[in-house]
């Protein structure tokens, strides 16, 4: 559908066409983004969407109360959720493996360590469409690794991590929309900086992760 770049009201027929496609989940991700911003201050559209929200919520409530004539269990949705949780767990294991691969056996005070408590966390948000600086949660002082988390659009697919001197690594997106990896602190200053790549509606999106190296070292 044609994208309108300003927030001037659409013709009624065109607005209705957008609404129908939105409710049918047939807009692309960028179109959804645009339309959701467009409708925010338009009560007549909000009412239509709230009716749709109510329908979904009401069906879920009925499904949760089988004694009241509820609907069948959500076997497929549940299975999907379980699968995604498992896939996310697998991703975390892969991230752990990546940390080991890059840093060698973990060692703290000369003893092998199996656990890194409270690593520093760096959280990138790619949802806003701008390269905003990441949120940095300090974690334990002197942690040998940092946990990097990247928020991704809901429709992001084929997420890969590109590190200097390494082959691309596939990342699995968590059920709540984040790709994560554990990075040895010593790798923070490597050039080029880590880059995350994913496809969205068939378009490849690349984002360089500007890790706040100096700031972290000083903390």
């Amino acid at each position: 559908m044609t994208r309108i770049v300003n927030n001037q009201p659409l013709a009624e027929w065109l607005e209705r066409a957008w609404l129908q496609r939105y409710l049918q989940r047939r807009l692309s991700a960028p179109e959804t983004e645009w339309f959701e911003a467009y409708l925010l201050d338009k009560p007549h559209l909000i009412a239509e969407i709230e009716a749709d929200n109510d329908l979904r919520d009401g069906l879920a409530l009925v499904a949760a109360s089988p004694s009241r004539g509820g609907v069948a269990p959500l076997s497929k949705a549940h299975a999907e959720l379980r699968w995604r949780s498992m896939a996310w767990a697998a991703s975390m294991v892969a991230a752990w493996g990546l940390g080991l691969m890059l840093a060698g056996p973990l060692s703290i005070g000369g003893q092998s360590a199996l656990v890194i408590a409270s690593p520093q966390r760096i959280v990138f948000d790619t949802l806003r469409g701008v390269d905003s600086p990441p949120l940095v949660h300090p974690g334990a002082a002197g942690s040998s690794h940092v946990l990097v988390e990247v928020g991704l659009p809901a429709d992001a697919e084929h997420v890969t991590l590109h590190l200097a001197g390494q082959a691309a690594l596939a990342l699995v997106v968590s059920p709540d929309g984040f790709a994560s990896f554990l990075l040895p602190r010593a790798k923070l200053g490597d050039k080029p900086a880590p880059r995350i790549e994913y496809s969205r509606a068939g378009v490849i999106v690349s984002r360089t992760l500007a890790l706040p190296n100096d700031r972290m070292r000083s903390e």
């Binding site: 409708l39 879920a60 949760a64 984040f178």
Partner: protein, 198 residues
């Protein structure tokens, strides 16, 4: 006049952003009145069905945006709706991410009544009303296949083509079922007075 502009969706975002950054408290109220319902609709749409956290997230989003506008942190005032939208979507994502860390995500998507009780009688009443309304609507559909259309589309989140193929129905029939169901839900909304803002 301003109220009329909001109703027709021609809110002057540039002026509003300028007034809020200049410390105009009335402009903040206008912002909330203009965007609160829309933010709530979006948060509900991106959250899990019936999640009682919605109202808290809506408050957080409005507070966050106002705070940023007070700090004059929005470079393009005309992009205010887009900024509000992104903040709302991100807030929902962040909430489920936090729950994921606490191991609270699994099993909630299909069990809204098992979620933390907000202990608000009005909310309980609203849920009961919603459930009863949907049960009546399902009964009115009459044909089991039509009920299955709704289950697959809204609960299993199957897309239109998959639903049509699985149930051997035409897209036109699919749309008629959804249209009727939404129309009934809109009647409920109007009865509750939520759509009075129109």
């Amino acid at each position: 006049m301003e109220a009329q502009a909001e109703r027709s969706g021609t809110l002057d975002c540039v002026a509003l952003v300028g007034r809020i950054s200049a410390g105009d408290g009335a402009a903040e109220t206008e912002f909330v009145l203009a965007f609160q319902a829309g933010v709530r609709a979006l948060v509900r749409r991106h959250a899990r069905p019936g999640d009682p956290i919605v109202d808290d997230i809506v408050q957080d989003v409005l507070h966050t945006v106002i705070q940023r506008l007070r700090e004059n942190a929005l470079n393009e005032p005309a992009a205010l709706p887009g900024y509000v939208r992104s903040t709302a979507v991100f807030a929902v994502t962040a909430e489920y991410r936090r729950r994921g860390r606490r191991g609270e995500n699994d099993g909630h998507a299909e069990s809204p009544e098992a979620l933390p009780d907000p202990e608000q009688p009005a909310d309980h009443a609203r849920r009961a009303q919603l459930r009863d309304g949907v049960q009546r609507m399902l009964a009115e559909l009459g044909v089991e296949r039509d009920r299955e259309v709704l289950r697959r589309y809204y609960l299993n989140e199957e897309d239109r083509d998959a639903v049509c193929a699985a149930l051997s129905i035409e897209p036109d029939h699919f749309h008629r079922v959804l249209h009727r169901a939404r129309a009934r839900m809109k009647e409920l909304l109007l009865r509750r007075g939520i759509a009075d803002m129109q």
